[in-house]
């Protein structure tokens, strides 16, 4: 194929049978307000960390819903917990708790995987 200047892409289909919902259910259970997010992006617009580096809080909810734990664990480390997102959120979502829960959830998942 390369001869013709084409490339092939990996399949981007999401297989719900393989879907990793451990983090989603953990966050949802401990912070139900997570579900009322309407993805307006106010949090991302005001973010102190987002001002310094490519970091998008709104995208986190997408990553959780897709169960992309590895990608999340790299992203979540950028947050500085300053609290601006919580204050600007029009839905009153406790974003800082969501962040802390993701951090804790990931560390718990990693721990349990290391044990197995």
């Amino acid at each position: 194929m390369n001869k013709f200047g084409f490339t092939t892409q990996e399949s981007r289909a999401i297989d719900y049978g393989q879907f990793d919902d451990r983090l989603l259910s953990y966050v949802q259970h401990h912070e139900p307000t997570f579900l009322i997010c309407m993805s307006c992006g106010a949090c991302t617009a005001t973010c102190s960390a987002g001002n310094l580096i490519d970091f998008n809080i709104r995208r986190l909810s997408l990553l959780i819903r897709r169960g992309e734990i590895l990608q999340l664990s790299n992203e979540i480390d950028k947050c500085m917990l300053c609290g601006k997102c919580t204050l600007v959120c029009p839905r009153g979502i406790n974003t800082r708790n969501v962040i802390m829960l993701i951090k804790k959830g990931i560390s718990q998942i990693k721990q349990s995987e290391n044990q197995n």
Binding site: H30, T33, T46, S48, A49, N51, L52, I53, I76, D77, K78, C79, M80, L81, C82, G83, K84, L87, V88, G92, N94, R96, N97, M100, K103, K104, I106, S107, Q111
Partner: protein
């Protein structure tokens, strides 16, 4: 020779108690770090020990802090603790007088009236009167304690803690000890006539009703048993705080501080909690209907190792409970230590932080994340800096990392350290002499955790006051009435109460209110609480605003962007930061000068001009 088998419950009880307490104390002492141990030993040999003993007496026996909270509650504690202490001391002196030496069985003072059956020694009547008086004092305390279980209002308490099984045994036996002692001494007085105004009178009365000789030994046995039960239950109940508190006072006065990890010093503090519940009433989480995360409950959960994140992180860290605590437990730091332990597994590294160039200036201004959400504050500050023609650098005007305090409040000390180092380098590179901060949250961390040698950290309320005092800015009175809301991190957190008030008095009329300074409200917006929901925050805010509105102020002034943002949501009160008010006052001053100049310009007749000579003329 009377049958003295009845003393054994007491002997056994006190022995078990002493062994358990000695075991715990040595475990706690061994658990301290090496430096802390040396500290304790060294300080023991200085006059520091005298201070500690004095404090232990004042706190442990006289309870002067509880007196300050409520006199009736204070008297209840004082009469029980101090009264009992005096009974022991005077009892010993009495026994020494009787024996003429200090060698006697150590249980002797406890059962003195049983064994010593007459008025035959020096000062014996005097001692009998004193002992009866002290017993009366303790009994009055016990009566109040009975009453307190049914009526809390006269004791200044709305809520109290629930009792655990160990507490119930200890409390019941404590309640029985003194009435039984009174009964036993009365019976002895009835037989031997060795009592005084209290026990003799009742003894004479009982003589007509009961067969004294038959109940004499049994009632002393009951007294001894109650003591025994109390002593055995003590280490397993909340009364463990009595010995622990004394130990804690000695450690505290040796200069030991809480560490960033849980150690035995934090354990000593946890066990020093008497679960009196004084911290419950001042907690504003009550207004939001959160009733399981108050300090006393969290300490109990730490003791039982049952603390969950939901309770640990559901606290505003406003510091009200710490201020009210009669034992001076470092409740905020204790909670942060627990948070550090809980989040140790996932501290961020912030590798992406770059070293950006610092601008050289005399003053560095750090607005803080929260101030960027309340632009009026940073705008006022910038205008004031420009107006006073100061050489300043607005450090986070465009972008800068957070100060690190929110991370620390969440227990992420290692992560916060990374942000601190990055900011610290920039501030030092600027070669400034002063760092002005607009946010009390940042102020606290810059002050306490940054190492900035040669740089004075000032909150803008302090700094603006200095500018006015140095006549670098001139203000005109705004003629409005103002209530000042103390932000938690600036007031209770950093002890800055007077400077903002002094500053406000330059421009406005300050209304004095009941809940100010140490007793001031938290706005409810605190970043330290990670679990609280927005509607719960609003309930806390509403209650505070309701109280402030009852004073009818024109303006609610504060010096924290987060407090301003929280209160401003309400819309029922005009909320301004101090810096905004000062900028308004400067503008007013400028306008007045301008008007004066215009008036002067209108004067065309030179003779009229001289009439105005007293007024300063601007060129």
């Amino acid at each position: 020779m009377p049958n003295n088998l009845f003393i054994y419950p007491f002997l056994l009880g006190i022995l078990i108690m002493l062994v358990i307490i000695a075991k715990r104390f040595s475990k706690w002492f061994i658990g301290l770090s090496k430096i802390d141990k040396i500290r304790v030993w060294k300080k023991l040999r200085t006059k520091n020990t005298i201070y500690s003993i004095r404090e232990a007496l004042l706190e442990g026996l006289l309870h002067h802090k509880i007196f300050k909270k409520n006199p009736v509650l204070g008297y209840m504690h004082m009469s029980l603790a101090f009264g009992w202490f005096l009974l022991i001391v005077v009892g010993h002196i009495e026994t020494i007088y009787y024996y003429g030496s200090i060698s006697f069985p150590f249980y002797m003072p406890v059962f003195f009236r049983y064994f010593v059956t007459g008025h035959e020694f020096y000062l014996s009547r005097f001692f009998a009167i004193i002992m009866d008086f002290l017993l009366l004092m303790v009994l009055s305390g016990v009566t109040l304690a009975y009453l307190k279980r049914f009526l809390k209002q006269p004791f200044g308490m709305k809520k109290t803690t629930r009792l655990k099984p160990g507490d119930k045994i200890a409390l019941t036996s404590l309640w029985c000890i003194f009435p039984l002692r009174f009964m036993a001494e009365s019976v002895s007085a009835g037989i031997h006539h060795n009592g005084s105004f209290l026990t003799q009178t009742s003894g004479n009365l009982i003589e007509h009703i009961l067969p004294l000789n038959a109940i004499h030994t049994p009632i002393w046995f009951a007294y001894s048993t109650a003591l025994g039960f109390f002593f055995v239950a003590l280490p397993f109940s909340r009364y463990m705080h009595i010995p622990t508190e004394i130990f804690f006072i000695f450690l505290k006065n040796s200069g030991i501080k809480l560490k960033k990890h849980v150690n035995t010093y934090s354990q000593v503090q946890v066990f020093s909690c008497s679960r009196c519940g004084i911290c419950l009433d001042s907690c504003q989480l009550n207004d939001a209907g959160i009733r399981n995360t108050q300090s006393v409950y969290v300490l109990k959960k730490i003791r039982d190792k049952k603390l969950t994140d939901e309770e640990l992180f559901n606290c505003l860290l406003c510091g009200k409970c710490q201020h009210d605590c009669p034992v001076d437990i470092e409740l905020n730091n204790l909670r942060i230590t627990q948070r550090i332990e809980s989040t140790l597994q996932y501290n961020s590294s912030y590798d992406y932080l770059k070293e950006t160039k610092a601008e050289k200036a005399d003053i560095v201004y750090f607005a803080g994340c929260m101030t960027h959400l309340t632009p009026a504050i940073k705008k006022s500050m910038v205008q004031i800096f420009d107006h006073a023609k100061l050489n300043y650098w607005f450090m986070d005007e465009d972008k800068a990392p957070c100060c690190g305090r929110p991370l620390m409040q969440a227990g992420q000390y290692d992560a916060a350290e990374k942000l601190i180092l990055n900011n610290q380098k920039k501030i030092l590179d600027s070669e400034a002499k002063t760092l002005v901060v607009s946010c009390p949250i940042c102020y606290k961390v810059f002050n306490e955790d940054y190492s900035l040698p040669g740089i004075e950290v000032k909150h803008h309320s302090e700094y603006l006051l200095e500018l006015i005092n140095a006549s670098k800015i001139e203000v005109s009175p705004l003629q409005q009435t103002v209530i000042y809301h103390d932000p938690c991190e600036l007031g209770r957190g950093s002890g800055i109460y007077e400077q903002p008030r002094e500053l406000l008095q330059h421009t406005n009329t300050l209304i004095k209110i009941k809940n100010e300074k140490e007793k001031s409200y938290c706005c409810g917006g605190s970043l330290a609480n990670i679990k609280i929901q927005m509607d719960e925050r609003y309930k806390i805010k509403d209650k505070a605003v309701e109280n402030y509105r009852s004073y009818n102020p024109d303006i609610l002034a504060t010096s924290c962007p987060l407090c301003k943002k929280t209160f401003a949501r309400d819309g029922k009160l005009a909320v301004h930061d101090i810096s905004e008010l000062i900028w308004m006052a400067i503008e007013k001053n400028e306008m007045e000068k301008l008007e004066l100049n215009e008036q002067l310009a209108k004067v065309t007749n030179p003779e009229q001009f001289w009439e105005l000579e007293e007024v300063p003329i601007q060129d």
